[in-house]
């Protein structure tokens, strides 16, 4: 078994709440705010449905000029990092022993599209900072310039599994003693109308059948699902050894007991039953857990017809059938690169609250034999939780979390 790793700080922003307290309260109430997206650059003769965040300014401790220069993805990163940093009291840790892993690649597409449009016919006036801002690793620059992180900072990409991949990489950095504390950040993937169009064309994003009722469009695991609905979000979790958290007098949310990563050898977007089984079994094996010990699953559950079905088949094949399930994406949409981190945060908040959030729009589940949390939150003390992510390009990841006693 791996040495015990604990989560000692978290920060989150989403369409239903800025900060953990607001996010948790909205989750448990089953809030959502889906509609036709309004952010500049999101539509072109289109009416894509999604869930957008509210204004993020200001962030205490981050200068106004920094926020002005930062892209939406970078602003969200600074916001969640600030929250996680303070909670985990990272100012008391040697900066050289703190690391940051940002999950996500090609995350700032809408910002790039807007800049390209603005300077299309006058390239000579292109803002010089474009040379910095077009790179995803600009987020590492913003974060380390504003917070004392001097150990390591880099990005990892795994499409919609990026957020979990960042957690796994951060955990490995601590296990390998590269740093004592490592922050995993699931970056906000800022889609432009081009990516929405592509996702729609390939059949991944939900159709316009709910154009007149946007609140009904996002329906993971419901028989009337027909694709994912995008939602802006970003989250950060602070990972360190349980021993270090105790030495620093912190009370961790949970321990990260194990994980699995599996490639299914498929460049296409379709899911793989074998790949998902391998990831789940990897998480069970590294944590030496039995399937029956898992009492809560936070599934990938995007609302994709074949994706939702494959995921439930994988859980059944791994005998994870007694656990409660809900779908965080039914409330906040699919954060793509952010999803794995934000859903881990949702899991840990529910674990601490002893309550599981509702699943919206689950009127007719594709498999009613499972223990769904439907329209209303329920009380449940989670002992062991499994969280899952899958990404285009054949990546499957699973994380196994245990309550801290």
């Amino acid at each position: 078994m791996l040495p015990e790793l604990a989560v000692t700080g978290m920060g989150v922003v989403s369409s239903i709440g800025k900060g953990k307290a607001a996010f948790e309260s909205a989750l448990l109430k089953g809030d959502s705010c889906f509609g036709v997206m309004q952010r500049p650059g999101r539509q072109r003769d289109s009416a894509y449905i999604g869930a957008e965040m509210c204004e993020m300014h200001p962030i205490p401790g981050v200068a106004r000029q920094t926020m002005r220069a930062a892209s939406l993805s970078a602003q969200a990163a600074l916001l969640v990092l600030d929250e996680a940093w303070n909670e985990a009291q990272l100012s008391e840790v040697d900066p050289c022993r703190i690391g940051l892993v940002v999950g996500g690649s090609n995350i700032q597409q809408r910002e790039l599209e807007r800049i390209h449009e603005e300077y299309r016919d006058r390239a000579e006036f292109l803002r010089p900072t474009y040379a910095l801002s077009f790179m995803d690793s600009d987020l590492c620059g913003f974060c380390t310039a504003n917070f004392a992180i001097r150990g390591l900072a880099y990005t990892v990409g795994g499409a919609s599994a990026s957020g979990q991949l960042a957690i796994i990489q951060a955990a490995q950095a601590v296990l390998m003693n590269q740093v004592d504390v490592c922050i995993a950040l699931g970056a906000l993937m800022d889609l432009s109308h081009w990516e929405c169009c592509g996702f729609r064309s390939i059949g991944a994003m939900g159709s316009d059948r709910y154009a007149n009722e946007p609140k009904l469009a996002c329906r993971p695991f419901d028989k009337n699902h027909d694709g994912f609905i995008y939602g802006e979000s970003c989250g950060a979790v602070v990972i360190e050894s349980l021993e270090s958290s105790r030495r620093r007098g912190l009370s961790p949310y949970a321990t990260l007991r194990g994980w699995g990563i599996a490639m299914d050898g498929n460049r296409n977007p379709n899911p793989s039953l074998n790949g998902e089984i391998q990831a789940i079994q990897g998480a069970l094996a590294t944590s030496r857990s039995s399937p029956a010990e898992i009492d809560y699953v936070n599934p990938h559950g995007t609302g994709s017809v074949v994706g939702d079905e494959t995921e439930l088949m994988a859980l059944r094949a791994c005998k994870v059938t007694d656990a409660y399930l809900n779908a965080t994406k039914s409330l906040i949409g699919h954060g793509l690169t952010a999803a794995g981190t934000v859903e881990a945060i949702a899991t840990l908040l529910q674990m601490r609250a002893g309550r599981l959030h509702p699943t919206r729009n689950m009127e007719d589940p594709i498999d009613s034999s499972l223990n769904w949390v439907g329209g209303k939150a329920i009380d449940h003390q989670v002992e062991n939780a499994l969280t899952l992510s899958m990404g285009f390009g054949g990546i499957n990841t699973a994380l196994l979390w245990q309550r801290c006693n």
Binding site: A63, R64, Q65, R68, A69, R122, E124, F125, L126, R127, P128, T129, L132
Partner: protein, 82 residues
Amino acid sequence: MTQAEVLNLIAQRTREILPGLDAHQFVASDRLVELGANSVDRVEIAMLVQESLNLSISRIELFGPKNIGELADLFLEKLCVA
């Protein structure tokens, strides 16, 4: 255009990059570096002013001016040529 108008434009664009200077009274002898503009901020400010004036000046010429008054003069000179 007068030097005062160009200076005003430089001040306006500088405040966009450095919001902390909202209340600063800009004068010709102000040096951007002393106002807290780093090298990237300075090149951004120069580019924003060029964009406002629809001028394109080589990076080498922009190294010359020692304060925003001299920078305004350089822009004025280019405006006259254009």
